[in-house]
Amino acid sequence: MTDGRESRILPWCLPLFILAAWWAATALGLVSEWLLPSPVEVARTIFTYMAGDHGSAYGGRFWGDAAASLWRVACGYTLAVVPGLLLGLWSGRSSTVSRLLSSSINGVKSVPGISWLPLALIWLGVGFMTTVSLIALAGFFPVYFSAAAAAASVPQNLINAGRMLGYSRPKLFTGVILPWAMPQVCAGLRVALGMSFAYLVLGELTGVPDGLGALIMDARMNGRVDVLLSGIVLIAVLGAVCDALLVRVLSRLPGVVR
């Protein structure tokens, strides 16, 4: 009993301690407001940003920004997942495909994502396209590698069992390989979603008027540390919520619960 309670309290100790230290540091004037605004100030900014009226600088912008960001993430994520899944499963089952792709994909993978930004700006222009392609690029790799590894790991006996029960070769893909790969693919999909949010901010670094990444960059250029911190908190929360939703959706797919 006590153990159960302890296990519920413990995880909150450190965050609460940090929050208290933060609050104390600002309340006692140990750090100046423009370096680190007080938690109360940040909370107020978040409130204004979410529920304030449209008169003030950031008032009520949240819903529009969140919608814009989520739409970009959704598009980029889809563009990452579909080819990542198809190519991954395919190269997991065919050593020709896997050899054909390996060096190219590993080469592209070892380029730090952010250095694509300037190229994307030149080739695709600023805004939606660039953001979406950066997200797609970043999300592709976890999906591809997890799908390839999973597809390559299907036990030969399961394949044999499928053939014995009458599956044709194409049907083996949907009947045996895909369901087998699901748990690992799901893990890859979650990692890819995290990546998508990371690259969202990158894609919104420049040339988009709305979105949470744009908020953070606006705050950076206007020196509003409270807005900056609000943006960070909100994007982390949004990312966590999306992850939770993804987990829920994935857990309903056939093949995940075993």
């Binding site: 036990p155 006996n157 044999n160 014995m164 029960l165 369901p179 056939p254």
Partner: protein, 245 residues
């Protein structure tokens, strides 16, 4: 040769390495045949050839008088590790082969229920394989194979992973099911007691040599594991096994 399932001159090599040099075997309809041999001698390879999972280098196979190639629901295999689909529940696993074979819904539900009753798992229809014990999973695998009413049942050390008591129960179950369905069975095992307990005839395979010895067991079933008639035969088999190793 005469028999229900006949192999003639089955050859298989991996690269330079000859696993089966040309194996002949004939199984009588409704019999249980055991295949024993040291680890790596080619028992599983033989079974996979028979099931059509890997292509022959040379030789021919006849099932019920007709040549057979590639996998098909006439010959089904139960693997050493169960090879159930972990994402399907017991009922779905057993049903899958019938579904792929386009058996009508009503009929296949009926047959699945029947078969699950036979292996004593009516109550576990909706369970996933992960919720079952090893012995229960093996029974599901057996049910999945038998529900297809195969002509030939291929068993690859199906009880090796089980503890002694569950193993004895499964052996009894196999003998019963064989009696009820009259299926022809080819059983690979490394346990000479198991071979004596279940089989009508026993083939011993040597590494790279194919079948090197054959015994016929005439004891009526149900047999008892400590039947003294077996002692002599077992000793012979053990000696042969050591010899060809």
């Amino acid at each position: 040769m005469k028999g229900y399932f006949i192999c003639q001159g089955l050859q298989k090599s991996y690269g330079q390495h000859v696993v089966l040099p040309g194996v002949d075997m004939a199984l009588a309809q409704g019999s249980i045949t055991a295949l024993i041999g040291a680890s790596g001698c080619g028992k599983s390879t033989f079974l996979q050839l028979a099931a059509g999972f890997i292509p022959l280098d040379a030789g021919s196979m006849l099932l019920d008088g007709r040549p057979c190639n590639g996998p098909g629901p006439g010959r089904v295999m139960v693997f050493q590790e169960d090879a159930l689909f972990p994402w399907l529940n017991v009922q779905e696993n057993v049903e899958l082969g019938l579904k792929i074979g386009c058996v009508a819904l009503e009929l296949r539900k009926e047959r699945v229920r029947e078969m699950l009753a036979l292996v004593g798992l009516e109550a576990w229809e909706k369970s996933l394989p992960s919720a079952l014990s090893g012995g229960m999973r093996q029974r599901v695998a057996l049910a999945r194979a038998l529900v297809l009413r195969p002509k030939l049942l291929l068993l690859d050390e199906p009880f090796a992973a089980l503890d002694a008591i569950t193993r004895a129960r499964m052996q009894r179950l196999l003998a019963e099911l064989q009696l009820q369905t009259g299926v022809t069975v080819l059983l690979v095992t490394h346990d000479v007691s198991e071979a004596c307990l279940l089989a009508d005839s026993i083939h011993l395979m040597g590494t790279g040599l194919g079948i090197v010895a054959t015994w016929t067991v005439d004891v009526p079933r149900p047999r008892h594991p400590d039947n003294t008639d077996f002692a002599q035969m077992k000793a012979e088999m053990r000696a042969q096994l050591e010899a060809v190793m």
